[in-house]
Symmetry: C2
Subunit: 335 residues, 2 copies
């Protein structure tokens, strides 16, 4: 409690969040609970992901962008499962010194994104944080019954695809804490801003969800780095993978940085926050997958293939000179 002039939880909800609770099941946020029913013939896909000040974003980040990031990291998972969003629950832990202007920006940012992705607020909880803003969002999506695309379902012979480009956000994080690297990497201002922006605000690949649902054999989002996430897909599926580093899709900015500092391949493969989709596609579905993705306007790149695991079920990365790289076990550590 920070003083009697602060709005109560009820006032806070009524003022900033009730306008966002547009779904019937949210009951205008006047109940303790919400209700949701998946469309007939559909399962509900569930995901919860939290972001905390000083861990997943900087204490001075705009709260409007924090709200968007918190929703988007969850939408990224739904897309990877082939699910379309139905709604979300919000748990907001507010620091003692929260300001109404920040909360207004938070609500406006959330409103903008939940409208863009048709994923309305269904309910939530507001508590006092021990220290710093923490946002935990649970999203609900729909897939046809039994059709959720699994992570642990890759098979030898599958082609491996990733959407968009890898490493941008991890490079952006470096630039955030060490701005002088931009000159060392010989980045144009627009390239620097591209990398910084990819860290600040993920771009969930929701438009790819239909292609994933229709054509992917296994799928997950890449949030902890390709090295670690592909290792998880391999381990879960009991397969290995072969990936050519030269085939990883890079933005012009990341390509320029890598040319200037070749060791950044560690960051590109081992960093996190890509929020791209990694999909294993059966050979017979490959052309349909590529065509559907192109129709959805999402670039996808073939980076390698799934092979039988003779030893450890893990990915093998090879450089253009034929040398093997090992990234397994790296990636973003959560604590």
């Amino acid at each position: 409690m920070t003083g009697s002039t602060r709005p109560s939880e009820d006032e806070l909800i009524a003022r900033w969040f009730r306008p966002l609770a547009t779904a019937a099941g949210a009951l205008g946020l006047v109940d303790d609970c919400a209700a949701i029913t998946p469309p007939p013939g559909h399962d509900l896909v569930l995901k919860t992901d939290a972001v905390a000040s000083g861990v997943h974003f900087f204490a001075d980040d705009d709260w409007g962008l924090v709200a968007k990031k918190a929703l988007r990291v969850n939408l990224s998972d739904l897309a990877a499962k082939g699910a379309r969003p139905l709604g979300h629950l919000l748990t907001l832990a507010l620091p003692a010194d929260w300001r109404e202007a920040d909360l207004a920006r938070f609500a406006a940012g959330l409103d903008e994104d939940q409208t863009a992705w048709d994923c309305p607020l269904l309910g939530g909880d507001t508590i006092r944080s021990p220290d710093g803003l923490i946002v935990s969002i649970t999203v609900f999506g729909a897939v046809p019954t039994g059709r959720m695309v699994r992570r642990a379902a890759a098979r030898p012979g599958d082609s491996l695809f990733v959407s968009g480009s890898l490493g941008d956000a991890a490079l952006g994080l470096i630039l955030r804490t060490a701005p002088d690297r931009a000159a060392r990497w010989r980045l144009a201002p627009a390239e620097r801003d591209h990398l910084l922006g990819r860290y600040l605000l993920p771009r969930p690949r929701q438009p790819l969800a239909a292609a994933i649902l229709a054509h992917a054999g296994a799928s997950m989002d890449v949030s902890d780095g390709l090295g670690l996430d592909l290792a998880r897909m391999c381990r879960g599926s009991r397969v290995a993978a072969e990936v050519a580093l030269a085939d990883l899709p890079l933005s012009p900015a990341a390509a320029r940085a890598l040319a200037a500092e070749p060791d950044l391949i560690e960051t590109i493969v081992g960093g996190g926050d890509d929020y791209e989709i990694l999909a294993a596609v059966r050979p017979e579905a490959e052309s349909a997958f590529v065509a559907t993705a192109a129709g959805a306007g999402v670039p996808v790149a073939r980076i390698g293939r799934i092979v039988a695991a003779t030893g450890e079920p893990a990915p093998r990365f090879s450089a253009a000179d034929g040398r093997r790289h090992t990234f397994a076990g790296r990636g973003f550590r959560h604590f």
Copy 2:
């Protein structure tokens, strides 16, 4: 990150939480998402509630009890909606200095309670907390389609019931910070322990869910104090309520404390953490409600009635001497 000897998130999940993920939709926690389908003819009831160290529990509380509290505050809401539990998602924000022994106790406590209430772990997220343990749980329950019992549906003429006893947890919180009050209140050791225990560990009224579903017109759980929560029911329903303070159900311990210190009525009505159920029951359903509750082994007490709102839609509390008390607007402040 606190050192390379710490288990990774994957190891932590595999070791402590995979054994709890017994539902098919949890996919053994090897996927990024979980799937759930409500039973045919049922809606899914959603609730998310978080507890934080230093706010909802003490930093030195046993993590096993914290896990139980985090699940139980959510189960309490499901019970008040007439819903039976289906499963839950867990977001765990761990402080930098977390110890494996604490996490083992957390998992064991959660396991015990999720088994007792048949509410298995479906998925979750583990992050580093900026400061202190924070646990956010989202529960899923099932009610027959369209039958979720609302908070904002009380009508003039309804009788008001509460389960169990009120004020115990709020008095227990006082004892926790000021142990000498036990002597002033002339409590026997068992009475003191009863109050301390009610604060430490809520007792969700899940056995009452069937009676609520069948016979309550409106219902909610009392978590922020009867004064504030009944005010919310009145405001949402656009009705007033008349409650006789003498009719509030008190435990022997609370009754003894109140006799010693009459001003504690403010704490009993205005405190929080009761996790009892407040139900408005139509006159024709009253005897069936009472009988069903008795059959379920949950004591319920009639504390007053809903009346038409002539002025403000708010509760009026009257003492045995006829004086009016106002508690509205009090109750637990969340930040």
